[in-house]
Symmetry: none
Subunit: 283 residues, 2 copies
DNA sequence: TCACGAAGATCAGCATTGATAATCAATGAC
DNA sequence: GTCATTGATTATCAATGCTGATCTTCGTGA
């Protein structure tokens, strides 16, 4: 009683001009916002469906309003990028992110990987670039998944050639829409939109599972900055990577990225840490 | 005086040299920002987990927004290897006396970490350098462990100053041999020998537990190559890091190392992957 | 209709947190 | 200069949130 009064008191008091825009909600307030139990809120964050921050030695959950609103709207994947009017007042009866309902696994080098994961892989030689990705794509093509590939030039030819070598002629796969090479866009936003579009189209064509391999050096080849790359990955992680039945594998050539960029790459692919990370650090 | 010193790296400087965006929050505002009580804010600062400035003869706490934002961590599983550290074999029957003493843990940001681990931590701002290490060393000094520090110059003074700020005068710790600043050697082999010597000496003096914090930029400052660094870390991992009751925390400033070097740093600290890695990727 | 997954409720152990009190010294208003 | 207020420090104690577990209910789809 006293506590609540304490918390809701003076929220809008712009004391001394300090921007109070960063309003964090605790788990109780978040649960009330979503009209679910606190237990469910914990489940959402644990599964990665709902983003949350942590504070203190007890690692209590803190939520930003923006994330809660995004979670409510996460029901319509194809419109994941539309950030127009979102009715936040009346909660929709069935809220449930797509990845919560994906009970199947793909296999990457023997590791079971659930769908809806956004992973990164670091490598430092050309061989490392294809070592994990080619089997991953080959498995997907065999399983009838829609497989997407993004890469700029030396890497693109290298990946395609390596895939062709284990699979033979790729013509049938391409014609059937199982293998799609996506041209990299001019900037991150355009690429996000293109991916959202491509994934939505594949789903409508009846593909139940998607796979993406992206060699992120295309970003550098477009002359884009590291900041823009972080921005792209963060938005992909929040808006797309967990909203489709897709496994996204982002490749980082450690020879081409700086230490800071590698650090940012790791931080924006937290899903990878649920798996044995050492398997994703290739030669 | 604290204030001026701390703002030397701020980009947004007005002509006067005083940063324009320097909005200090008092403890009440900081507590409201984090959605915790003022008592907790005081606890955070006392442990060194949250940086604060002091003003006036009453040493009132003042906070920078950036410090508060850095304190709010990302979501990540909190389970640490309480279970994973157990021997893989079946249930142990009766244990010998040596085994009874074994099951002890240190605590790093709430994570239980067994002794004998060789961990790495990546950071990209000066703030990140001290965020995890200062509480780690402070805990060790409080517990009576022997704490070793290796760093070359800008980092060394920064770490010592940050530790002094939460702990007060370090003279007693140094005189009692609890805190030892080790001069970096000319090359990796000499450093390995020096560390082996220093650890053995501390053990003979009766210290039961050791802690090491090393900012690996000293390697670069010695003009040594990345290959030599890998070699050093690999040998440390094999020969020393697991042979003493020590927790070794190696810091990598992502601003100073290349992508390949960061990749190698990760690969040579596989112990880190047993813990929630995202907690070791700091800002 | 049955099976399945999600949601909700509950239990336990545990460490942190929040509230409160007492003391002390600096601050700010008069 | 006085004097009430504020914040620091230390301490105690109850409440809260986290983790993991089990169990039941509910709605949907096979």
């Amino acid at each position: 009683m006293f506590i609540m009064m304490n918390k809701e008191h003076n929220e809008h008091m712009a004391v001394s001009g300090i921007p109070t825009d960063m309003k964090l909600l605790d788990i109780h307030e978040a649960a009330r916002f979503l009209r679910v139990s606190e237990v469910s809120v914990r489940r959402y964050t644990k599964s990665g469906a709902l983003r949350c921050l942590r504070v203190g030695g007890r690692r209590e959950r803190r939520f930003e309003r923006e994330d809660l609103e995004a979670f409510v709207g996460a029901n319509s994947p194809t419109r994941a990028l539309a950030e127009a009017s979102k009715p936040i007042g009346a909660a929709q009866p069935t809220l449930g992110p797509a990845d919560v309902a994906a009970p199947e696994f793909a296999t990457i080098e023997g590791m079971p990987v659930p769908w809806g994961r956004h992973l990164c892989q670091l490598y430092e030689t050309d061989r490392g670039r294809v070592q994990m990705t080619v089997p991953f794509l080959n498995d997907g093509l065999n399983a009838g998944d829609a497989c997407f590939l993004i890469a700029s030039e030396p890497a693109r030819a290298h990946l395609i050639e390596a895939l062709r070598r284990v699979r033979g002629d790729l013509g049938p796969d391409i014609e059937a829409g199982r293998l799609r090479v996506i041209d990299h866009a001019q900037n991150g936003s355009a690429m996000l939109a293109a991916l959202d579009e491509a994934f939505g189209a594949a789903m409508e064509e009846g593909f139940g599972k998607l796979r993406l391999v992206g060699d992120m050096a295309w970003f550098l080849d477009q002359g884009l900055s590291g900041d823009e790359l972080v921005n792209f990955e963060t938005r992909y992680d929040r808006q797309i990577g967990h909203s489709y039945p897709i496994i996204s594998l982002c490749l980082y050539d450690a020879r081409r990225f700086s230490g800071i960029e590698i650090l940012h790459a790791l931080k924006s692919h937290a899903d990878t840490f649920d798996l044995p990370l050492s398997r994703f650090l290739l030669r």
